[in-house]
């Protein structure tokens, strides 16, 4: 669906994108993750044919971005960063304009606009002017714009920035819904967004791809091991010893003692399978009362390690 090969782009003397390559399959929701200024938006602008790369090749649906921009523009839906909108237009006028320019046939146009209003939850806003809208509703208008012609590829550049937590959840669900049928490239610097909505993630930093895979894969690759937290009731020395005996456990650390003789431990493990089951069995066999057991997502740590430390996935 999307093939990117070695694209580079610089603004003046600053290299924004440095030989990035990746591909996105049909029906995938790809999280495009990186700190601010990593070059995410530049890649988006190249893929939407807003400007060409300095070097490298990219194609969407087999159309080259430089040779057939018009075909690509027809097929994609794009929500740019900060969601620019014509403030002086009415919501309906704007959607009507988008439908016209997308070439939606007159007979279907009103129905389609009504559908978009329904999907994006703009029922109350439809007769307002855009400048009157709240940030969340502006975002909905932007999404309606991007979805108007039901594009096969949707490119969203920080679709939830500036929204309140409820709105974020709503927009995220909407993206998930869309992602069932469409290919989505979701650009963000919010980690939980990727974990919540994406099948696969690409992390870029300083214009380069530093990691790709599912959040778990990236975390494991970057950190080398997973972390499990557990709280058990019993003698801390005994527990510590038994936990160390489990296969795959590298280290056990007694973190703190809580009320009623309960002790929290942190375990470092180096294998992928579910170690929690074994901990539960151990607790049952030895009679330790288990009150907490979870693996920590070290994705956040991995992210900061990858984007600050600068280790590369080569």
């Amino acid at each position: 669906m999307i093939e990117v090969e070695n694209i580079s782009k610089s603004y003046g003397n600053t290299l924004a994108v440095d030989k990035i390559s990746f591909s996105v399959e049909r029906g995938e929701v790809l999280g495009f993750l990186g700190p601010n200024g990593a070059g995410k938006t530049t890649v988006m602008k190249i893929l939407t044919c807003f400007f060409p790369p300095d070097s490298g090749k990219a194609s969407l649906f087999g159309h080259d971005i430089e040779e057939h921009p018009h075909e690509i523009k027809r097929l994609i839906g794009y929500l740019p960063e900060n969601n620019p909108l014509y403030d002086d237009m009415g919501v309906y006028d704007y959607l009507n304009f988008i439908a016209d320019i997308r070439g939606i046939d007159k007979s279907r146009k009103q129905k389609r606009i009504a559908e978009m209003v329904e999907i994006c939850g703009l029922n109350k806003e439809i007769f307002k002017d855009i400048y009157e809208l709240s940030k969340g509703n502006r975002q909905r208008v932007g999404l309606a714009q991007a979805l108007m012609h039901s594009p096969d590829i949707l490119l969203l550049d920080e679709p939830t920035s500036g929204l309140d937590p409820n709105q974020i959840v709503e927009i995220r669900n909407l993206i998930k819904e869309i992602g069932r049928e469409k290919t989505v490239l979701l650009c963000t610097h919010i980690l939980s967004e990727v974990e919540a909505a994406c099948n696969r993630t690409i992390i870029i930093n300083e214009g380069r791809v530093v990691a790709q895979g599912t959040p778990e894969e990236i975390a494991q690759k970057a950190m080398g091991n997973l972390v499990v937290y557990t709280t058990l009731k019993g003698d801390p020395g005994d527990i510590s010893e038994s936990l160390s005996g489990i296969k795959g456990v590298i280290s056990v650390k007694h973190l703190r003692t809580r009320e009623n003789d309960r002790h929290q431990f942190i375990l470092s493990i180096n294998r992928n399978e579910d170690i929690c089951e074994e901990i539960f069995m151990l607790a049952r066999d030895k009679g330790y009362v288990l009150s907490q057991l979870h693996t920590e997502s070290s994705f956040e740590k991995a992210f900061s390690k990858l984007t600050r430390g600068g280790i590369r996935n080569e």
């Binding site: 603004y11 939407t48 044919c49 807003f50 018009h70 523009k73 997308r102």
Partner: protein, 237 residues
């Protein structure tokens, strides 16, 4: 019809007439020009519009930049240029749609001065030929001004800057043809300056004489600045 040029044209025209500023501009334009014209019309005892057309280049000096200033500068400021140029719209379609909407707005404003013609018929026996010629020439001149204005609007994000720079540029093209200035430059430069100036090409127009060379001059100016606008769109961040 879903032609992108037409879509942009309709949208832009809507946004011109959707704001009260448009009506204020048109009213101001009509009041000022009518006042200037009728100030001495009744003294002249001659039913023609020559004086009307002869001061329009100076009125347009302020009126046209006001129309053109927002065209592309506003798109750049709001970043909506990123939305519209990633829709299935080519750069040329964008430029033409924008330009034609501003031109339509200008033509509507000019045509709204029709009551003057009615007064002329009421008070005398005007010759319709020069009037039609004068209007045609005025439209071409305004169209040339607009193309300059749109180009300037495409290189800045600031409407005020677009307004001022456009006005200065138009002023430049006007005064290089003024006799006052032509006396003070080396004589070999005079033909070039006269040819480049709006002023010289407008004198015959204001008399209602449409010379193909003048029309050709205006059309070339329009094309040059449309091409410049197109090129400046390549500059994107």
């Amino acid at each position: 019809m879903n032609n992108p040029v037409l879509c942009i044209f309709r949208k832009e025209l809507r946004s011109y007439f959707g704001s009260p500023i448009a009506y204020i501009f048109i009213t101001l334009f009509l009041v000022v020009t009518s006042y200037l014209f009728f100030m001495d019309y009744f003294l002249m005892e001659d039913a023609n519009m020559r004086s009307y057309f002869s001061f329009l280049p100076w009125i347009f000096l302020l009126f046209v930049p006001a129309i053109s200033m927002r065209l592309i500068a506003e798109e750049r400021r709001l970043n909506t240029i990123e939305v519209i140029l990633t829709l299935p719209v080519s750069d040329w379609q964008f430029v033409f749609g924008k330009y034609l909407s501003a031109l339509a707005f200008l033509i509507i404003s000019i045509l709204l001065s029709f009551p003057i013609v009615i007064v002329l018929y009421y008070t005398g026996k005007p010759d319709i030929g020069p009037i039609i010629g004068g209007y045609t020439g005025t439209v071409f001149m305004g169209a040339a001004y607009l193309s300059i204005g749109m180009y300037i609007s495409s290189i800045t994000r600031n409407q005020i800057i677009a307004f001022i720079v456009t006005a200065i540029l138009i002023l430049f093209f006007l005064i290089i043809g003024l006799p006052m200035l032509l006396f003070s430059i080396p004589s070999w430069l005079v033909p070039l300056f006269r040819w480049m100036s709006f002023f010289d090409h407008f004198i015959s127009v204001s008399r209602g004489v449409i010379d193909l060379r003048d029309i050709l001059y205006y059309i070339s100016v329009i094309f040059i600045f449309l091409i410049l606008t197109y090129n400046s769109l390549k500059n994107r961040t």
